[in-house]
Point group: D3
Chain length 235, copies 6
């Protein structure tokens, strides 16, 4: 029995509140249970230097947690982002770029900021899944204004965690499970089921090929549900 | 006529949503119109080094804005807090300490984090006013648990901005007014009307004694209304 | 009776030694009693980026203390300026800009450096008052050389501290008073008596409207004397 | 045909030169083709603070590249390690800890430094595989000296990269392949074939479940060969 | 003929003003012509960590220039001291430690701060020579108070620069000479003529053994005069 | 008798292995006994800003030690280079520029990186002597490709340390001697015997003119041997 009483293949309660920022071109407050992440997308007319005169666009991401998003207070990262933070924001950026049509965006950059207001496990997967909504809304607004002629996104991106716990392989770990799981994995997939990112780590003991395959199967099911929820939120 | 259509002595719509964090000892989402600040209070059993063995407590504050809290995106302060940020968080900390009974708190520290989710002028006054609610809730919780024997706060603290605009002295500037006002002031007062902080700056031209006095009178009225709203929120 | 034996409305002994730097365009060693600040003004032909192609000039300030300007030694700020330092240098810069005729200066910047050689309270007010002399001398030199056609300064700027001590409201606190005062205020005024900056803070207890008014009246008297002393030093 | 002429499942020429440092407790210069990494293991009698009084040991890793290890010169990371560097050294540390018997090591820390002298793709997998040799030698030396009573390592750790290129899934990418592959993966396994870390990223296009499975099969073959080579080097 | 009209072996006008700081245990404003350095010595009862429980004392030095000490303004070193600054302050510290009786000082540290108020060449030699006066005064004060039982300094330390210019080897370069000399050297000697530090650098062309010997002879003469001036200043 | 059994005027075993980097324009692994330094020269078509439009070239150097190059592990300098590191890399750069024909190089920069793989005293002198080989090879390659028309180097540069130990003045100190010597000196000379840099420091006691002269004589002998070895390595 999982601490939350969920079935092994059950997501937490998922919600997307769109348009939460009066300033951002796209925004979304995503909730995976008690994990709440505020995602905003900012369209910048200037692309990063390495793209000058290529006609290609870029999507980048930043990630942070409010100091008291967690059980005990964390220091603000004012002397440089931690390794963990950098790892996560690199992952979010790479994941979102997997659905980017770079010539269609043109020589611009969209910055997706993911700020964790409250954390209960799975903040990076919530950030990717909600960040995609903010990105989608910003691109929709550009199309509505005629800034770009065709859609700069090729489809959905969503992410979910899995783990091997005492109850076996389970989907969408909350903090109680995450902190005790023997293996921990994050999967990023497209709406069409293509693999974008796979990151699995042993925590304390190794995991087998069969356990890995079970986690991947759970992730495929979970991402399908997340993509359906994204569609409902945008409808 | 003010851009918002408000009377010169009218506050924006004010609200305090308490208990917004599942982890913090006290929390409040304060809104002064479109300015939204998430305030959390964290109780730390360890006081800062300069208080070791004094039996006295401390309250400190941190302040930050999410990158897209503003009209255009601001960089995260990951290479050190800016002068403006440090100035504001020092102001918030000093203001909240003005109602602190340091022996009653005992050798502990309460950290009040004020994170601006959306900015439309007056973020520092909203931070102080909402931060006080978070602090009040954290101290109430300590008393309920018996951690402290008597109340560690001596009363209310609230803050409001004033300015001299083309319409004359006005209360509670939003961003449209703030960016064009000839003088800009922030006042922090206690619930009993005592002065805690006065900060007035000329912006482009000097201001007269009479203009300053008019701003102070507006602030006294505004703070009285804020204190009443604090009481209602805690009732 | 004040620790120094001064009357409540008496300044310390004030002096301005001009031309103390062989390199700077304007310079002044200002003394407010035992507080000694070396002020230099540097004229830079390049304005800051945000003024490019506006034809407008700028004045900025930097502030620092030598490590042993104080009773016990302070660390050099080699890993970033402290919040206090940034707050003071922002105040000095804003104060001096209040007398600046930006089109008359043209697209240039004047940097006023205020380095405290010895501190005994009131370093920021001495920095503003002496910094104005350095600025005045630099602008005079530009006019003498024909770099600018008309005066880029509209008048005098001077600053003084006040506080509420056991002896009541007093003018120009030295360190002994500053460290024990119940309220502490700094006032920046023009030669014509206009208000430029007002900063008052409760220290340990709040202050009343009447106490604030008494401090402001003292400051008006003190600044008038400082302006007279500035005129004498430049005569 | 691969650029190097290798078969899809062929490793580059692999070598381990042990004892290359006169100072380190364990050391190894590992070569995966033209990728050369100098690995040293340092035994510190002091464990990190979070382990105080637990009786448990720790292994951590650092990773860096000499500035001219690469085709064009890279800046030294003297203002903080980059996100990429931190990601790699966290990966190396986690990987090596997967074979650590923490009570057997006791309250000590072993630091494994991996410095890339020359880079041609696969530096992180070479670092893990050669770092394990340095770690093994340091632990052997502790056992020989009687510092620890039983073996602190539970087995071998080795790592290899795979990718999907125009030639299909291939093993052990060199730089020419790495920079053009459509998907890029790193696998860390134990000598017994257990999975320790799986990291796969789409580069420009997504990858399928079948492609992923092919990469994992290649990795299992490659790691078996690396473990055999580790054994030969230590014999 | 030298730019200043001095003979090849002539020092600039040298002066030492002692007791210039009301706070420091020892202080001296040293002038080598237009080079002015404010030196203070601070006695700290706590020695640096590497001396804990040795009973031995330490002298360290810090060096800085005010931003407008030079012809054009230099940035403050607020993001870390430059290589030049660190090199100079290491030199000053080593030089002053050459006359230190470490057991006589006991487990304490004296920090000598050398702040250049105005620069015209030779700031490091002025800093050493004036810093020694500040150190001497601080040690005298400790002996007078009975903090230490016997003298912690074994004699005088003084320093001077030499160079090879178009006029041949010359003593005590000012900025005009320093910036054009073909070789540049700094010598630190004791009052008894012992060598403490020798630093000579070719600037644009190499120098011969004979030129080096001529510079050393000039330095021996110059330091003898400086030591005599130190004695006169302390008499 | 020296710890190593060498005669007072004997160098350690010296070797230069050239072409050790597949990427660098010039490279050399230099060994002075157990001190091993990897030197690479990188040709950059862009000169530093202060040379823009002068037609003159530049050589600069960087220096670092691997963490376990030393007996005990040293921290990586990821928060800024230490004073020692900066001092050494400034010395290496100045030394190599002494043989540079700046117009012949043209408006380019060559960066010489010196990374100490293993340290046993004398790392800076090995870095200069081996760095010169890397620089020589890079310039030879530029001439062979026709990038430059004439030789940009005017001759050899080599460096060696000396010290005064219990055995009297000795040449080329290893770590055992370096850590106990009463005086420590580094000499940089040209192939023609001209002096480039002289740096001598007392360690614990002063040194005499005679001792200094003896060290210089040893250095002249040692550098002659090093230059001969450089010639042999390049033959």
């Amino acid at each position: 029995m999982r601490p939350s009483g969920r079935a092994p293949d059950a997501l937490r309660s998922i919600s997307f509140e769109t348009g939460v920022s009066m300033h951002a071109e796209g925004s979304c407050l995503v909730k995976f249970g008690d994990t709440h992440v505020l995602c905003t997308a900012t369209v910048e007319e200037k692309a990063p230097p390495f793209l000058r005169n290529t006609g290609l666009g870029w999507v980048t991401a930043e990630y942070a947690m409010l100091p008291r998003a967690t059980t005990s207070r964390n220091r603000r990262e004012r002397q440089g982002a931690s390794g963990r933070t950098q790892e996560i924001q690199r992952l979010v950026g790479r994941s979102l770029r997997a659905c980017l049509d770079r010539p269609a965006l043109g020589e611009r950059q969209i910055v997706v900021d993911c700020d964790v207001l409250q954390a209960d496990g799975g903040t990076r997967t919530a950030a990717i899944t909600g960040g995609w909504i903010a990105l989608r809304l910003a691109v929709d607004a550009m199309m509505a204004k005629g800034t770009i002629a065709s859609d700069a996104l090729t489809g959905h991106i969503a992410a979910i965690s899995c783990g091997v716990t005492a109850e076996g392989p389970v989907l969408d770990l909350d903090y109680a499970e995450d902190s005790t799981a023997g293996a921990d994995a994050n999967f990023v997939l497209t709406g069409a089921g293509g693999l974008v990112e796979v990151q699995a780590s042993a925590e304390g003991s190794v995991f087998s090929r069969a356990q890995f395959d079970a986690m991947l199967a759970l992730a495929e099911k979970g991402v399908a549900e997340l993509v359906a929820a994204q569609k409902a939120a945008l409808a």
